[in-house]
């Protein structure tokens, strides 16, 4: 992957943020984002991911620790001097300016020459398919077009860092899929370090080179998406990443009481006569067309979810045989909830 000339890496060391004495939004955060990397911050609402992003942008003060861009500590550097471009959840387009002026704004603020601004804006607009909308105001654009303008405004000036705060959450499902791919392509092409905040499973799993999972202001795990999925650091990550979430129950592992987990796709239908098969009763079925989520009740276990082939036919109340791939079991400590190897 080519890394942009202007792009830099980011180091976060022991960063803390309090809103009040009893509201500790980010706790002792340690994280390194490599130059050119696409990092995803993911976690439930209120986990501190947006706060962390805003601290990186300079929109929130840092109460403890340091944030470094490249070698430079930026804790006290005002936002305008950080050379960071950010895409906001609600786009934050300037409503009184047309698309052209929205995109030209960062360049005007940097005192670019008029011709250079024109060249750059038309180039980026053409890239994003916005040429015909340049004269329109944001109010006259659809959600997808607004999102593109917001991206365009971030892209025009080749920043050192891209920040994106749930940029796709206001778009409809189809558009979201398209934009997801576009953003990934764009990031690859530009090679600029990007931090992307989301609470969406699919975005987290498919877009980034690494994902950082957060909960209650604490970093839970940072790793490649596949690793986080297959080897979650703890029970929270195991249940948060993956949809539908991992099945868990209290069990035993090497003679030790622990929590056992298995992903829905590792539970498969089996012939009831199969000696290893478990008998279960179907309590509900959700067929997405591509696959069937079968909700099951089995004796001695809490409710289970099985991700079966769409062709698998069964109805509520029916008894079925299932098989769990024991190789895929994950075990977690009951106290610490950390994964046991």
């Amino acid at each position: 992957m080519a890394v942009s000339e202007t792009s830099v890496g980011l180091t976060i060391e022991k960063v803390n943020k309090w809103y009040s004495a009893d509201s500790h939004a980010v706790r002792d955060m340690d994280l390194t984002v490599e130059n050119g990397e696409f990092m995803i911050f993911v976690g439930p609402s209120g986990c501190g991911k947006s706060t962390l992003l805003r601290m990186i942008a300079g929109l929130e003060t840092v109460n403890g620790g340091t944030i470094r861009m490249g070698e430079r500590v930026i804790n006290k550097v005002p936002p305008k001097e950080r050379d960071i471009a950010m895409v906001f959840q609600n786009y934050a387009l300037y409503p009184t300016m047309n698309v052209y002026n929205n995109m030209a704004f960062p360049l005007k603020m940097r005192r670019w020459k008029k011709e250079d601004i024109h060249r750059r804006v038309t180039e980026v607009a053409a890239n994003l398919g916005l040429t015909e909308y340049l004269k329109r105001r944001p109010g006259a654009l659809s959600g997808g077009q607004r999102q593109r303008v917001a991206l365009g405004r971030a892209m025009v000036r080749q920043p050192r860092l891209f920040l994106m705060d749930e940029p796709l959450s206001n778009l409809d499902a189809k558009l979201r899929v398209d934009m997801r791919r576009e953003i990934v392509d764009l990031q690859r092409r530009l090679g600029t370090t990007t931090i992307y905040v989301t609470h969406d499973q699919t975005e987290a799993m498919t877009m980034g080179t690494r994902i950082a999972v957060m909960k209650d202001g604490v970093l839970q795990q940072v790793d490649a998406p596949r690793t986080v999925y297959e080897k979650p650091a703890n029970l929270f990550v195991a249940k948060f990443i993956g949809s539908p979430p991992m099945n868990t129950w209290e069990g035993e592992h090497r003679g030790r009481r622990c929590i056992v987990g298995i992903r829905p796709e590792y539970i498969t239908p089996a012939d009831a006569s199969d000696p290893g098969a478990l008998r279960a009763r179907v309590s509900g079925v959700e067929n997405t067309g591509r696959e069937s989520m079968v909700y099951l009740e089995a004796e001695g276990l809490p409710g289970l979810v099985m991700a079966a082939d769409a062709a698998f036919r069964c109805g509520p109340g029916e008894a079925v045989g299932i098989r769990m791939d024991q190789e895929k079991f994950l075990f977690f400590d009951r106290e610490t909830e950390l994964r046991i190897d």
Binding site: A57, G58, L59, P78, P79, K80, R82, I84, A85, M86, F88, N90, A92, Y94, P95, T96, M97, F105, P106, M109, R110, R153
Partner: protein
């Protein structure tokens, strides 16, 4: 349903009628000749018996009172000019001083902000009569009494426009100013590029309300201006004597015109301003 609508319409029309009648009488009266007017009002002004009448339309409509006022009364023009040179600087000052002040209240966190803002509101709620004596003393000490500055300076730093604009500026989403800061804009540039264009309705409603207030002001010029050559138009009407009632009606009509124009031009902002301030004047 239709009946109800009709009834409500009638009721509103009935109420509107009472608002419009004085205005109608004013306009029709301004087109009345001096003789006709004297005759109509004789029982009130003179010593004749009977009741005064005011016809809906003048019997002999004439533009004579207009000609008399506009062509033969230089005093009227002097006062019109006085009004302009007092009201426009007040309004301009309110924007130049009020808008940045309001932006600071709406967007910045600084020590003493709450106290200062409360002080603004307290001052705003005080009627002119309460602050009149202290204003008089300050202006007197500054040597500004009996000059247009006695009207302009207190007006320009008036607190109401600030309060009004704060309401508008606070409603600008913070994401916009944050986006601008990340796009490389400093605090001043954010104010000029984001605050002013987006707060324009608030600024305009402050302009409209400020203009109307000072165009119609009576107490300030009466208190602070002893020299009658400095008096604004709002003080012209009380100087008109009964025998010159026709001219006074014309003066009223002409006095109404700028306010009416401002109102027509700024009605949208005026409504927004009134609803934002949660009060009416």
């Amino acid at each position: 349903m239709k009946m109800r609508k009709w009834l409500i319409g009638m009721l509103l029309a009935f109420i509107a009628f009472f608002v419009w009648v004085p205005l109608w009488l004013l306009i029709s009266g301004s087109l009345m000749g001096a003789e006709e007017m004297t005759q109509n009002l004789a029982p009130v002004l003179g010593n004749t018996e009977g009741t005064a009448v005011w016809p809906l339309l003048p019997m002999y409509p004439t533009l004579k009172p207009y000609i008399e006022l506009l062509l033969d009364t230089p005093q009227f023009f002097a006062m019109f000019w006085n009004s302009c040179r007092q009201v426009f600087p007040v309004v301009i000052g309110q924007v130049l001083i009020g808008a940045p002040a309001a932006w600071a209240f709406a967007r910045f966190h600084f020590r003493g902000k709450k106290i200062l803002y409360s002080l603004y509101i307290v001052l705003m709620l005080m009627p002119f009569q309460v602050t009149m004596v202290s204003s008089y003393l300050v202006l007197d000490n500054l040597g500004l009494m009996n000059s247009v500055w006695a009207i302009i300076l207190p007006g320009a730093v008036s607190t109401f426009p600030v309060f009004l604009m704060v309401r508008f500026f606070t409603s600008i989403p913070s994401a916009l100013t944050e986006a601008a800061a990340l796009d490389g804009a400093g605090p001043l540039q954010i104010f000029f590029h984001i605050g002013l264009p987006l707060g324009a309705p608030g600024i305009l409603s402050a302009v409209v309300l400020g203009f109307l207030e000072y165009w119609n002001a009576l107490e300030q010029p009466l208190t602070f201006l002893q020299d009658k050559t400095l008096w604004p138009l709002s003080l012209y009407l009380p100087t008109v004597t009964a025998d010159n009632a026709g001219v006074s009606l014309v003066a009223s009509v002409i006095m109404l015109v700028p306010a009416l124009l401002i109102f027509l031009f700024g009605q949208r902002y005026l409504e927004a301003g009134i609803s934002a301030s949660g009060m009416k004047d």
